[in-house]
Point group: C2
Chain length 325, copies 2
């Protein structure tokens, strides 16, 4: 069965042709920039899709389902989206309608964190588990919830906004406008801002970045692996905050597996997952901690392909009741 | 169809005979005290059940299913329980086996907050909703989650421990041993301790209670309705903390309805629900706040009967996949 996936990232577009086993037959990648004319951007995406099909020698009638994974807010029921922070102006684009028209076929829309969670659950680090939470741990902290073996979207498809759980009353200002959000402390963008203020000029972090104003969490991870004191302290602090976020999830949802993406994957077992597990365990009851596995995402860069494919698959063979209605 | 419900509360036992429509045919209530010999306590409960059936003129063969709603921790899969704070020693009692043997029929076990959530969802304030969170707001803060129209139990039936979401890092000591739990600020027991330390001797609260050492949240509610300044300030503070707890739930689960029991029901619309809605709205995104209804539990004292009946019903016509296995 051929499936078409379109993953609209903050900076990258991934169009993929694959199947329900998660095997990718052909892919296309390109940088994505908001042109300020979202409708034109969508027309260009549709052209990319047609090109991919042409190159693969596949007729669009041979594609069983197409799915789009796009940055939230996304309303799966209503097929519309709010304004994503990375793609201003896109909030008003009827993405599903435009793409469906351009492709001459229905297209299913999924929030990117949900699609990535589905991908990790079907093909990656969440395989065979019933209750899985996936956290992107990227620029922001998106979340996708697999509960009782189904994607859980919540009312108006708004569940899983784990990055905006408040950790501090009247805390740090978040990009979303609220205060004290998990993401305002542990999201990549917030961390980057912090690092550019605090990183000592003499640190390995600044040296690696080639200047304090260029420092990112990736430099912290690299420097920490090399034993840099500032980097180790920063990662330690980050793990502590991430442990607090996971603690909230444990008491609320009792997942059996929490999968962490991007920054956590880069930081790895010794600097991230081992201390994280220990700190979560200190903060939750044994019945919750004993059953909880905290693991890195497994799909890496291929996750973008599978996220789009999973959005398509969800429309065809829905894991959730909502999609069945 | 006849159903038998047994609700084991911290202080009260309710045994009820009813049907799948939530109509109660006959009930029995008595205080419950831990005798220190849990097996003897269970034998006595079995006697109460037999008496109820005898008085109703119903043979036990005519009961389609029996359910027990009991204070957590409860493991529905394994049928065993940990030690509930109110009933020390009961952690070791094979409640389901003892009751099943005594009644000569299988008995289904459900965590009391889950059973109460099912009752409000099937017969009370959550009727017809797909995504409902119920919070007991009693001595502690128990939670039950109805997600996508099913009870969600989580791994090892441990989900919904909303009372132990951490609100403050290194915060107030909770009865559970951890720090900063929601319940350590807004649970009835914690609030009672606070009131007995802080209530001014001259306040209406102390006058109503007949002494500072006797003050409870109920006195605060009564005094607040009468305009007492201390009581109003205390309720205001309580609403603020409850709003913080609900905010976490909104970002995580995007429920369409949050149902609050006991203390919130007593406080009512003007002193509790109206300010609470406003404060949650200030703390969440419009897409989450607009779809979120915060309402009082509807079942009152009859909730205990229906909780037991729902535990039985869940075994017979499970809302969840887990129970279907």
């Amino acid at each position: 069965m051929r499936l078409l996936g379109i993953d609209i990232g903050g900076t990258k577009l991934a169009v993929s042709l694959g199947n329900e086993q998660g095997v990718i037959e052909r892919r296309l990648r390109r940088p994505i920039e908001a042109s300020g004319k979202p409708e034109a951007d969508v027309v260009r995406i549709a052209e990319d899709v047609r090109k991919l099909l042409r190159d693969a020698g596949v007729a669009r009638e041979d594609v069983a389902a197409s799915g789009v994974s796009a940055p939230g807010p996304v309303d799966v029921e209503r097929g519309s989206r709010g304004d994503p922070p990375d793609l201003p102006g896109w909030g008003t684009v009827p993405l599903v309608r435009l793409l469906s028209e351009a492709l001459g076929r229905p297209v299913a829309l999924e929030n990117d964190a949900n699609a990535a969670a589905l991908a990790e659950w079907r093909f990656g680090a969440g395989r065979g588990r019933r209750n899985v939470v996936y956290l992107t741990m990227s620029t922001g902290i998106g979340g996708g919830l697999i509960l009782d073996g189904r994607l859980f979207r919540g009312h108006h498809s708004s569940a899983g906004e784990i990055g905006h759980i408040p950790l501090e009353e009247a805390g740090a200002r978040c990009a979303c406008g609220l205060r004290g959000c998990f993401e305002a402390y542990a999201g990549g963008a917030a961390w980057t801002r912090r690092l550019r203020e605090l990183a000592p000029e003499s640190s390995r972090v600044v040296e690696l970045a080639g200047g304090r104003s260029l420092v990112t969490p990736e430099h912290v991870v690299t420097a920490a692996h090399a034993g840099d004191v500032f980097a180790l302290a920063e990662l330690d602090r980050w793990c502590d905050i991430v442990a607090r976020g996971i603690t909230v999830l444990a008491f609320t949802l009792a997942p059996e597996r929490v999968i962490l993406g991007t920054i956590a994957v880069a930081a790895g077992e010794e600097l991230c997952f081992a201390p994280l597990r220990e700190r979560v365990r200190e903060r939750v009851w044994p019945i919750l901690g004993d059953g909880l596995e905290i693991v890195p995402a497994a799909l890496g860069d291929g996750g973008a392909d599978l996220a789009g494919i999973c959005a398509a698959l969800e429309a065809l063979e829905p894991s959730s009741d909502l999609a069945k209605r």
